[in-house]
């Protein structure tokens, strides 16, 4: 049997802190995940749970005032935290959340992507243009040659997201990081873009880190999933296993609230506390129906429960009260 390929991306023990007016906020804590070559790894969580911060840490664009007190981000085995790793990051493509806001309105779309290509691989502009036209064809932009000369506002939202996908692919990436790439789009366009991403990932054998708040998207696209709650990993594992039989109370409530798994994560009583005022112990315990005193005492680390799954709850075997699941 062959050695399993080393992960394309491996995040371990990652913590991110941001200085705010209300003190130091620990936005991410002890986050670990891995993306194997050719794998699409989903990250789900409610708004504010730190998904974008995770993406920014991986891409090396954390906001001012942010620091990483602990943890490592390995890309193809090399640690890419810190400034010295710009070259490695060159092989990570990024698909942002909002195609309407992510392209500069005063420059031609084509020039913006060509600039990215130029940064990654110096070469003749004509060669870049030829490659870009091929890419635009691959993401199904009609009349790719003419599209190069157009400005962002002359494209529809879906087309702009296709442009950004082409841009992400233009650096010939080993990993593509997507931060809710379909949230800003209408449902039909959303489905088209997801289908396109799935096809491109399969055709090109891309590893992909796919952030979303939508379990439905995870179910349709991802191989594995990591559920974040308030900056920590609640549960992680292969997508079928986690969705069919979630173990962390948070994940169970979420999926019970939404049997069709296609809507957002707003059905649990209570709210996520702000990052500066997180409770001690398990961050979910104030909202958890099976919490006991111990839950407030110590942070439960994610533990392997077999089948490649990890759950950060020592009481994951307990039944939830029936009323909560109704």
């Amino acid at each position: 049997m062959a050695e399993p390929a080393p992960p394309t991306l491996e995040v371990s023990g990652l913590a991110v802190e941001i200085a705010t007016d209300n003190g130091l906020a620990r936005i991410l804590d002890d986050v670990a995940l891995a993306v194997a070559p050719g794998e699409i790894a989903g990250v789900v969580g409610e708004s504010g749970c730190g998904k974008s911060t995770l993406v920014r840490a991986v891409l090396g664009i954390l906001p001012r005032g942010a620091r990483v007190p602990r943890g490592a981000v390995l890309f193809q085995g090399a640690d890419i935290l810190g400034d010295g790793a710009a070259a490695a990051r060159g092989r990570i493509g990024f698909i942002p959340q909002d195609p309407y806001l992510s392209l500069n309105p005063v420059f031609r779309a084509g020039d913006q992507i060509l600039e990215i290509m130029r940064r990654h691989a110096p070469g003749r502009r004509a060669d870049h243009v030829r490659r870009l036209v091929d890419l635009l064809r691959a993401v199904q932009i009609p009349e790719p040659e003419a599209a190069l000369a157009r400005y962002p506002h002359q494209f529809s939202g879906g087309q702009r997201q296709r442009l950004l996908i082409a841009a992400a692919l233009s650096c010939d990436p080993a990993l593509v990081v997507a931060d809710e790439p379909t949230t800003a789009l209408d449902v039909t366009t959303q489905r088209e873009i997801l289908a396109l991403l799935a096809r491109l990932a399969r055709e090109r054998g891309l590893a992909m880190l796919f952030v979303t708040h939508d379990f439905g998207v995870v179910a349709g696209l991802c191989d594995s999933v990591t559920v974040l709650y308030a900056g920590r990993v609640a549960e992680a594992g292969p997508v079928r296993a986690v969705l069919d039989e979630p173990r962390h109370p948070y994940a169970r409530l979420l999926l019970a609230c939404h049997p069709d798994r296609a809507t957002d994560l707003a059905g649990i009583p209570g709210t996520v506390p702000p990052a500066t005022r997180q409770p001690a112990g398990c961050r979910f315990h104030p909202r958890c129906p099976i919490a006991v005193a111990d839950c407030a005492a110590a942070v439960p680390p994610p533990v392997a429960i077999g089948g490649g799954r990890r759950v950060a709850c020592p009481r994951h075997d307990m039944a939830l009260p029936v009323a909560e699941l109704a």
């Binding site: 920014r56 891409l59 664009i61 710009a86 990051r89 060159g90 990024f94 942002p96 959340q97 909002d98 806001l101 992510s102 392209l103 500069n104 309105p105 005063v106 420059f107 913006q112 600039e115 990215i116 940064r119 990654h120 400005y151 506002h153 002359q154 950004l164 841009a167 650096c171």
Partner: protein, 337 residues
Amino acid sequence: MAAYVLRRILLALPALFGLVVLSFVLVRIVPGDPAATLAGDAATPQQVEEIRARYGLDRPLAEQLLVHLRQVMTGDFGRSVFSDRPVAEEIGQRLPATLELTFCALAMATVFGVGLGLAAALDHNGPVDHLVRLLSVAGLAVASFWLAILLQLLFAMDLDLLPLRGRIDVELGPPAERTGFFLVDALLEGRRDRFVDALRHLVLPAVTLALPGLATIARFTRSGVLETLQKDFVLYARAAGYGRFRLAAIYVLRNAVTATVTQVGLLFGALISGAVAVEAIFDWPGIGTYAVRAILSADYKALLAVTLVVGVVYAVVNVLVDVAQGLIDPRVADTSE
């Protein structure tokens, strides 16, 4: 784009028409009898009446306005009571001096204002930012006549680095007139000495005139850059690997200056009125000094002509600003279609 430009020009025409009418009415309703002024202090009432009839000043105001409008259309601005020369000719001689001064001041204000604003924004709340803020507060607060005298004392009197006043050295003489812009004319005739001398004469008045505008532009650019830096597309460009310099100086700046460019158009009005004081202090033979003389001598023909010429220049500059805006931001020309 061509349609956009044409529309901007057409929009400027009614404004200019309004300016002609308004300035005429204003000049005629202020206290004072132009006929009496024209006739002079020693004139008898009978002579005054004669003059009133000859210049049509006895006609109803509306009729006078129509006559005035017709003359303006044909480029006839009448004669100056002060010099008895055609106003159009006098203005034609003096306008290039003012334009040379104001354009240089505008260029200086724009280049340094944008540069300082960008530097300040990139060093948000750092030492450069504080320095630029100090400079722009000073630039707006300091009265230009005071600054002018200060500069004259320092650079012309004490250090003897730059000429005190005038447009060119008297012994050197002005370059052969082609455009009326000394810098251009000196270059055209290939006279390096005259070019340098004209430039040296320009420095102090242009700096004086430029400073308030420079301060305004620096502030607008700074806030424009700071605002743009917050945009998603900047974050995206950083993630996509844009270089720091390219990101700041090209990618962000182009968005940031759209607000600045509008300011440049508005500033030009302030520059022209500023030129009146600055020209007087530096003895600059431009339209500002001409306007002062026209006001003091109740030379209403000259005054109306100056107003209109300034209005036209202002309108032209603002059409250019609109064009620049359309070039900088493609959405401007697209959405106003």
